[in-house]
Symmetry: C2
Subunit: 683 residues, 2 copies
Amino acid sequence: MTTSQPASVDPKALRDVLDGRWAHVRRDARENLHDPDFLPVYGESVQSARDRVTRAAKKLAESGRVGSGFPKEYGGEDDAGGSVTSIEMLAYVDLSLMVKAGVQWGLFGGALQLLGSKRQHDAYLRDLVCFDLPGCFAMTETGHGSDVQQLRTTCTYDPDTQCFDLHTPHEAARKDYIGNAAKDGRMAVVFAQLITRGVNHGVHAWLVPIRDENGDPMPGVTIGDDGPKAGLNGVDNGRLSFDHVQVPRDMLLDRYGQVAEDGTYTSSIENETRRFFTMLGTLVRGRVSVGGSAGSATKLALDIAVRYGDVRRQFAAPGEDREIVINDYLVHQRKLLPALARTYALHFAQGELVETMHDVQTAVHVHGQEIDERAQRELESRAAGLKVAQTWHATRTIQMCREACGGAGYLQENRLPHLKADTDVFTTFEGDNTVLLQLVAKGLLTGYRDTFGSLDGWGRIGFIADMVRETVLERTAARALIQRLVDAVPGRDDDVPLLDRGWQLKMFEFREKHALEGAIRRLRKNATTDGMAPFDMFNDVQDHVLKTAQTHIDRIVLEAFVAGVDRTTDPAARQLLDTLCHLYALSTIEADKAWFLEHGRLTAARAKLLTSTVNHLLKDLRPHMVTLVEAFGIPADWKATRILEEEADRQEAMASRDAELRAAAGQGTPEGTATALEVAPAQ
Amino acid sequence: MTTSQPASVDPKALRDVLDGRWAHVRRDARENLHDPDFLPVYGESVQSARDRVTRAAKKLAESGRVGSGFPKEYGGEDDAGGSVTSIEMLAYVDLSLMVKAGVQWGLFGGALQLLGSKRQHDAYLRDLVCFDLPGCFAMTETGHGSDVQQLRTTCTYDPDTQCFDLHTPHEAARKDYIGNAAKDGRMAVVFAQLITRGVNHGVHAWLVPIRDENGDPMPGVTIGDDGPKAGLNGVDNGRLSFDHVQVPRDMLLDRYGQVAEDGTYTSSIENETRRFFTMLGTLVRGRVSVGGSAGSATKLALDIAVRYGDVRRQFAAPGEDREIVINDYLVHQRKLLPALARTYALHFAQGELVETMHDVQTAVHVHGQEIDERAQRELESRAAGLKVAQTWHATRTIQMCREACGGAGYLQENRLPHLKADTDVFTTFEGDNTVLLQLVAKGLLTGYRDTFGSLDGWGRIGFIADMVRETVLERTAARALIQRLVDAVPGRDDDVPLLDRGWQLKMFEFREKHALEGAIRRLRKNATTDGMAPFDMFNDVQDHVLKTAQTHIDRIVLEAFVAGVDRTTDPAARQLLDTLCHLYALSTIEADKAWFLEHGRLTAARAKLLTSTVNHLLKDLRPHMVTLVEAFGIPADWKATRILEEEADRQEAMASRDAELRAAAGQGTPEGTATALEVAPAQ
């Protein structure tokens, strides 16, 4: 049950595979993104952090590394994939700067670019790109974060003044957690209900000046400060309220809905909900970037913890001079290695997602093609699912790495506290993870046929009762390869080795299909149960529905990893990745072993074998732990941590002193020279 | 499969049960510990936090609420249980202040009290209690945190000078993470290898002045600052190095080991390792306090999240005017309620632990009885196990509560970020959790017969190969009741209802016994396997060994909860606690369902029934969620959070505005008055 591993693997060969389609963007960042002003500072006040990050954002703009996603005529490269890859690289350097950049060029810039008109681009994009026009993305309200279709801010058109009246009716409707609002923002893209001629046409977006040249709030605009947060101290999150602010008609970002001088509303998309989700759909880049950035933070934390675990020693082994390196402990490997395997798996899945996003968005926004609704829905679902997987994995893994570094991990100088505090909100912003899981589930339940509608997944559930749907799993990349592997597994799979990739794929697939069919069956039953309130029909199976989404994401991620291994040409690197992929697959099955046992897909004996096989994989991978983090290619100065060199130096100094003492003791210990080392070992 | 619940339960009746033996200490804190200077301040600098907490510590000393654990002649009450209960209450108010107090009166004070002599008490205890003598507990070194028997600092006696020479030979031997060191400490209890007449007698402790009256470091003492940390900003953690510092002979804390003028070493405990662990054992209070404080932080986080979830609304239900309260969602209940059940369970287990600790320590230190070695080992094991359970539960639960409060949970003004950052290190300090689990496991493997020895659990493993041991589980409180419940379960237990308490207890018991016997069997096999390195003999089964400890802790905790329910006299409170105890038992079994399936103790059908039973329990408990946190009795001003009242007010304002708009719309909507509410619901 063990795998054979090459003696050593060149981390560069692994890095080439990981770097993927936007390798040039990654290499450029590694080689050129070395301004020390971009690095985090430990122990600074909120005020200094904000000032520092504002200066850094301006400097970053000057470096020309922020605009690649914008059209060529505004200095960009029309490269959506490149722009999210840049953000992913920036996340290694400083997460506050990453979020500040994400707000300015991703959210604010993306909304202007994708929802605005040529005229609006001409007027603002250049200033936006060079950070002369810092801006906000003002969607979330205190009362509505997940259900943004229900925003309470109104923007009502008056033909007499040719202006909209933007208004915050009560505190629950104030814009909240808005990046760039508390200090820097001069404009905001504000989302509100568009009302004209007495009809509410749903949520639209406007460009609204919020501060004048002196930095004072514009008339009718009240700006609040969210104050100190758990992390992201460099980002000035704030609150915006509007007291009947007059917004000129031409400030409506009107690509998907226009209001004529007389107040007539027009849109190429008739259905209001569909229109709303089409608008939201264009903004998928933010969610993709958060997932990618969470991945970077996770890699950095693992890099620190794995390297520390390779020099840190604790507890003597019988008969050994030096204490044991903590990476040698089985339980330490059980913490670090499955997390590392999952990080690789998610990296490959993220790579596929970025490619898909790039292709879908380039078709529409660069080549002017029609939106492929189905592809767009599937992209949104993937983006949501991976955002969930990446950010929860980041929260858990960074916490684990902090603990794996002991007290040293709690000191800011060792970076982990910042990684932890800064990424914590990733599970909430750009879509609460639980709500996003529900969105993914809804896509699966309806086969992307009819996924418009509120993110909640409640609404009318008649569609579930009515639908007759055969569950067909969508394949990701390497479709043919995966199908071949799955098909090669015999029907009675109890005798297939656990290290058979086809069997692993089949288990993931079976679980997803079974969970999905079961959820549909239960929903249908509830929908036809007399007297059951519509809310209860869904709520009753909510845990099952979310499990379905989770199993779907796991499969997508495994398939991406398999495809990544398949693309690897260097034999040693391929062999190592193949083993790591086994660890991802088997540790994922192990974590949900109960399900497989319950559903007759694992016998008790095989379930026990699974655990020992995972332990064997850990042994096989142990010699390659450092190589696996080296492959992330994180430049030393980006790590901004003291833990690594210092611990190695200390251990060496202690070892050489201990050796001296042992030598002296070996020559007989004269009175008065007994040492710390001589305590009798524990009996 | 549902339980019947009273319509309402008086939280005070629950509180009386929770308050337990030191109810008077809890009531006193609730009624009198209301100095606003004790509360956390958000967004302050490290420097201000340290200054504030130093002032608060002094004020706390003046309030007379810190000395109850000290002997009566020094103004205390000889009340060990009362002193850890006070710390637990202080943890609600501010965790930095709690840790500062824990360092001063628990660790520094405890070491002086329990390891020092009457003469030393007379000289220092009064100043210590009133905080005129702030001090440190300098045990951990940069190179040795878990394996403190291997400390590298030496303290070598010279009969000529009648002084010890205290020395830090290299950087790995410097004292690190020491509370009170960076700013306030005037003295430190320093742990080092005692060497006299050329013989190393193992780790002992000395009282060492580290700063003079002006606050400058004493000659030969180098003081460093650990700088900003992830949390606990108010605690001045630092580093201490000693360059041949002369420490007078009478500064050795010499209760367990004495050095005569001529350098002769004497001790009432012959065996060096045994002596070391006896000394360490007296310091168990610190570990008990950390567990209790983690419990308080968890309760506070749950109080915030449960109350917020009861007013926060998101997503409309079909046919309802208002959106759904988020506590009504099954998946939200799945997050909050099992955590709440486990918090109750741990509370009862902590209560038992404090009683045991109080009784064991009072016998020895107040009544001067001999140490009961077995009781002492069992106490240490319980303290270690509960510290692990409480602190990991705190880390996970506070994180979950943060996420359950969405973006609001990320703002410091809502307290959760502080709770999270401040408690994070609890899983590391006072014993790394993984190392402590090993300590617990070792106690189980040897039946407390022979648990001396390094915390590591390696050492010679011959004792495992040799030992013939019948596994007999130690019972906790309510032994007779529990045995009766277990005995009443028929041998073929597949038909016993899942809500049979006896069956639940039996499952916990079976799992522990089986895990323990399996671990012993595997260790014995390895010990007799030719060519297996001693390290590998243990490392090979490390995961299994730690699982044994985990199952043991789960059982101890369940038994404590059962005993707690049994003590409850108010019928409604008892019924509610009984249901909550079902939830703890069944959600714990559910989390390890795979194990029970693998070992033939759950059929697949019964495993599925388990999940639906847990969901039923959530439904039964839903109406009592707020009561269950109300019962913790946390005064409103201790919560130091804005989230609760504000969200309720906002939701009311929004509801009343929405109702107005609906009424207006019902009377026909004149042009220009369309509102946010009128967007068509999602189809």
